[in-house]
């Protein structure tokens, strides 16, 4: 054998091995793989221009050509030879015409990278790949004797004898074999009848596992089936098949049976894995049944921190709310993290948590809302206010600062929330009065001031009532302040109408008298308000 040929084979195979290694290293960049193989393909093409085909023997750590080692590598699973040799491939033949796609297919077979889904043996993969220009030979025989026991060969021989007898009887000398039988399905029928659809396969496999578990047939394979189940979920996640996952988990949520609880528990721990949870939250959309709903329901009580970690990843407010609800339902595990999140978290996160707090007791809700009220984002503060008001003690502690907040909406919401704190009416009124005494209050718009006056009236506090009465009867000090004072008196009337008590009614009725000395517009407003309070119409109390 010419040394030149051996050198050419060595160069080509070394190049191929290098390309395979690149494919292995950058396996997450599949669009680059063909490009990685181009140098090797060029070398091989040049070699195969000289020889129509080249056959190399495959050893565990080497390739031999004509008995000469033309490539060697350490014994590791990511090598060119290791998996091929381990699975029984003994020679590889490269024929003229070999293309990039075929080399890539060979690379995928040869590289023994761990695959979560498992894989068939290399010989089967090569056989299925059906490559035109890359041949192989495998260790001969089925070797069933090795694990089938001593009796294997006898059994096989007996069966073979019977089979031969049947064939001899039915395949006589006159038997005519055909080369090709007509195909009964069109391409279209095949595509329709046998769709390549991992989602359907995965979903049906998951349902089959659940049927086994539901009917208590899992036996000692329960854990193995559990592992298969979550591998299926992983595969479907990898392939972004949200609907199939939704179906599988929704069924898992609903099945019953003696072994189901254990099965579900084990699965729940897997589903709470941060990476897996993150991918699920990112993937979840509008599929039915909803992926996220089922997934979150299956998580264990300890999953609270993981849930808070993925909270910002939810696609939309509804998804984030679902995650937040799941976290709040696992409060025990994430109680220490929630205040910080509410205080420093982004608006979408904090809002989702605030929205999910309904099941909590009012006191706990108010405590958490108080921390959310410390958040810099006005939207968060705004959302915290109604929850904060649920506990008057917390409300008066926190909302006073809100009445002077920069954001108008916060100021208004705080005032409105304080209006509900009738249990601590005097304290709340004091806060409102303090805010109303500030110069900024007077500079605010009419609508905001209206809210404050009405809130003050609604509280029904003595100090608030006194303040309103005093303002109602206040005389103008200067001629130029008359119009402004009328405007304020009209707000006071609204406040008294909100008060709605007998004393407020009497005040309004007095003010409505023609000789009260109040401006006509105020008198008219007082009349209307008095009627309003008397009749117990909206906003007033029946007197």
């Amino acid at each position: 054998m010419a040394a030149g040929t051996i050198t050419a084979v060595r160069d080509a195979l070394d190049s191929l091995a290098r390309s395979f290694k690149r494919v292995s290293v950058y396996r997450h960049a599949p669009d680059q793989h063909l490009a990685y193989l181009e140098p090797a393909a060029a070398e091989l093409r040049s070699l195969l221009d000289q020889k129509t085909q080249v056959t190399v023997s495959v050893e565990a750590t080497a390739l031999l050509y004509e008995g000469e080692m033309v490539h060697s590598e350490p014994a590791r699973e990511t090598g060119f030879c290791y998996r091929l040799h381990r699975d029984g491939v003994r020679t590889l033949t490269f024929r003229r015409g070999v293309g990039l796609d075929e080399l890539l297919a060979l690379a995928h077979v040869a590289l023994g990278e761990p695959q979560e889904e498992g894989r068939e043996d290399a010989v089967t993969e090569l056989w299925k790949a059906d490559l035109k220009h890359i041949g192989y030979s495998a260790g001969a025989g089925y070797r069933m004797d090795e694990s089938g026991g001593e009796g294997a060969s006898t059994s096989v021989t007996e069966v073979a004898g019977r089979v031969q007898e049947v064939l001899d009887r039915h395949v006589g000398r006159s038997f005519v074999e055909v080369a090709q039988q007509p195909v009964l399905w069109s391409e279209l029928q095949r595509a329709k009848g046998d769709p390549v659809d991992y989602a359907a396969l995965g979903r049906r496999a998951a349902h089959t596992i659940l049927r086994i578990v539901e009917q208590d047939y899992a036996g000692w394979d329960l854990q193995a089936l559990q592992e298969t189940f979550w591998r299926l979920i992983d595969q479907m996640l990898e392939r972004e098949q949200a609907q199939a996952i939704g179906h599988a988990l929704d069924r898992l949520r609903r099945v019953e049976g003696a072994q189901v609880s254990e099965f579900r528990q084990g699965l729940g721990a897997r589903l709470a894995d941060p990476d897996r949870l993150e991918r699920a939250v990112k993937l979840a959309g509008a599929e039915k049944p909803p992926l996220l709903g089922a997934w979150l329901q299956l998580l264990p009580p300890a999953a609270g921190p993981a849930l808070l970690a993925v909270l910002p990843l939810g696609r939309d407010p509804a998804a984030r709310l679902l995650v937040a609800k799941a976290a709040v339902a696992r409060m025990e595990s994430c109680a220490a993290l929630l205040p910080d999140l509410l205080r420093k978290g982004s608006a979408p996160e904090a809002q989702a948590v605030l929205g999910a707090m309904a099941p909590l007791p009012p006191l706990r809700r108010a405590e958490l809302a108080a921390t959310a009220f410390e958040n810099q984002d006005p939207a968060v503060r705004l959302e915290a206010i109604p929850l904060l008001a649920a506990d008057p003690a917390h409300a008066v502690r926190s909302l006073g600062e809100g009445l002077g907040a920069k954001a108008r909406a916060v100021r208004v919401a705080a005032a409105q929330a304080l209006a509900g704190c009738t249990m601590v009416a005097e304290q709340a009124a004091a806060l409102l009065l303090e805010a109303m005494a500030r110069p900024q209050f007077a500079a605010g718009d009419k609508e905001e001031r209206t809210h404050f006056y009405r809130s003050l009236g609604k509280l029904g506090s003595s100090s608030g009532f006194s303040y309103l009465v005093a303002r109602l009867w206040q005389k103008p000090k200067r001629i130029f302040g008359r119009q402004k004072l009328v405007e304020e008196k009209l707000l006071v009337v609204q406040g008294l109408a909100e008060d709605g008590t007998g004393r407020a009614l009497r005040t309004l009725e007095d003010a409505a008298l023609r000789w009260s000395g109040l401006p006509a517009t105020v008198v008219a407003a007082c009349k209307a308000a008095a009627h309003h309070v008397r009749t117990g119409a909206k906003g007033g109390k029946s007197v």
Partner: protein
């Protein structure tokens, strides 16, 4: 990609030639020893054990390295895989005796395309003993033929008969399929050592390849029927034969036909969970027994799914094994079960083979009767489009 059957171009290095030379000497001297001892001992005698082991190992080694075993004992010399084997002068009388003895029987050499089982080698001893046939055929004694070994007959002419070789491979593959299933069910019962999956995969690869080469002969395998005690192995192998043929007629890719064949071999492994006595019971079964039998498809799925493999082929195998036992009719308030193509094809093939086989509770139907039953009385159980195609697929069995 096609599996290479001959790779001599890769193995002409000095090291390979030397190895072949060594193996050739070992096999020839072992045959000489066989011939000598076969005159005095029966083939079961332990005296043959080491010699047969050596022959078997040598053939293994050649099949592994060259992909073939071909020993020619010609007047002008001895050739192993077309390479002349040289001997020291001291062995020449032995060689002459071997050549003469075999020549008298019309044997010019031996070949094997797959590894010969022990039984073949014991059979070889008998054929080469004075008790053997004076003129054995290519498969040895026609009454007890070899599975894998073949004689090269001197009067058979120089031309090789590829169809005879393929036919031998067909029989060997089918027999191994039967053994695989029986052994698997048996081992599942006792939690024993299973034959690795790759071995079954190779069998099915060969079945798919052979179906493509000889579709009509291949389908005739479905006529092989079991006695009641080894029903499951034959049944599964027949379902594989029918399903691969069905897949081929539908124009499915060879990978999909392989999936069908594998699923067929596994479709009844759930029977391992059913007590053997129950399987052989005649007459009507009580409710508990019926429930156990109905659960067997789930046990089959469990046996496959517990391997933690979730690649498409593994899932196809598990699902087809389970779904082929489902009928396409709604159960109570449940919707019609969703069944993949594999399950639908296997369901048809499974019923067809079961009907044409004698069972403890009923005799076998003819192929025509089975077809009639499936396309009339039981038609609701199957995919209507596929069951309509069944007569075309099994037509060669109706002749």
């Amino acid at each position: 990609m096609s599996a290479e059957r001959s790779v001599f171009d890769a193995t002409s290095s000095a090291a390979t030639r030397e190895r072949r030379q060594q193996l050739g000497q070992q096999i020839t001297l072992a045959i000489s020893s066989l011939l000598r001892n076969a005159r005095n001992y029966s083939e079961d005698n332990a005296v043959f054990t080491p010699v047969l082991a050596q022959i078997q190992q040598s053939i293994f080694a050649l099949l592994e390295a060259d992909g073939a075993f071909e020993l020619e004992l010609l007047d002008e010399g001895i050739y192993l895989n077309r390479q002349a084997v040289k001997f020291d002068a001291i062995y020449l009388p032995l060689l002459t005796a071997v050549r003469t003895d075999l020549k008298q029987r019309g044997i010019g050499g031996m070949t094997a395309a797959v590894a010969p089982p022990n039984a073949d080698l014991r059979q070889l001893v008998r054929v080469l003993s004075p008790r053997g046939p004076p003129h054995p055929g290519a498969r040895g004694d026609p009454s007890r033929p070899f599975v894998a070994l073949r004689f090269k007959l001197r009067d058979a002419g120089a031309g090789e008969d590829p169809s005879a070789d393929r036919s031998a491979r067909l029989v060997a593959a089918y027999a191994h399929a039967v053994f695989f299933v029986d052994h698997t069910i048996q081992q599942l019962r006792v939690s024993g050592e299973l034959i690795p999956l790759w071995a079954a995969s190779r069998v099915v690869q060969d079945l798919v390849d052979l179906q493509r080469d000889m579709p009509l002969r291949f389908l005739q395998l479905a006529r092989c029927k079991a006695a009641s005690e080894d029903y499951w192995g034959f049944h599964a192998a027949n379902v594989a034969v029918l399903a691969i043929s069905f897949g081929s007629r539908l124009g499915l890719t060879k990978a999909r036909r392989h999936d069908l064949g594998m699923a067929a071999l596994f479709h009844d492994v759930g029977m391992a969970a059913i007590p053997a006595a129950l399987l052989e019971r005649q007459g009507k079964l009580e409710v508990g027994a019926q429930r156990a039998l109905k659960a067997s498809p789930l046990f089959a799925a469990r046996a496959i799914l517990r391997d933690r493999e979730v690649h498409p082929s593994a899932l196809e195998r598990a699902l087809a094994a389970y779904e082929c036992h489902l009928d396409l009719v709604p159960l109570g308030d449940d919707p019609v079960p969703e069944i993949g193509l594999g399950g639908r094809i296997l369901g048809i093939c499974e019923s067809y083979d079961a009907l044409t086989t004698t069972r403890p509770f009923r005799p076998a139907r003819t192929h025509q009767e089975a077809l009639r039953i499936m396309t009339t009385e039981q038609v609701f159980r199957f995919d209507p489009q596929l069951v309509d195609l069944l007569p075309s697929v099994v037509e060669p069995l109706l002749r």
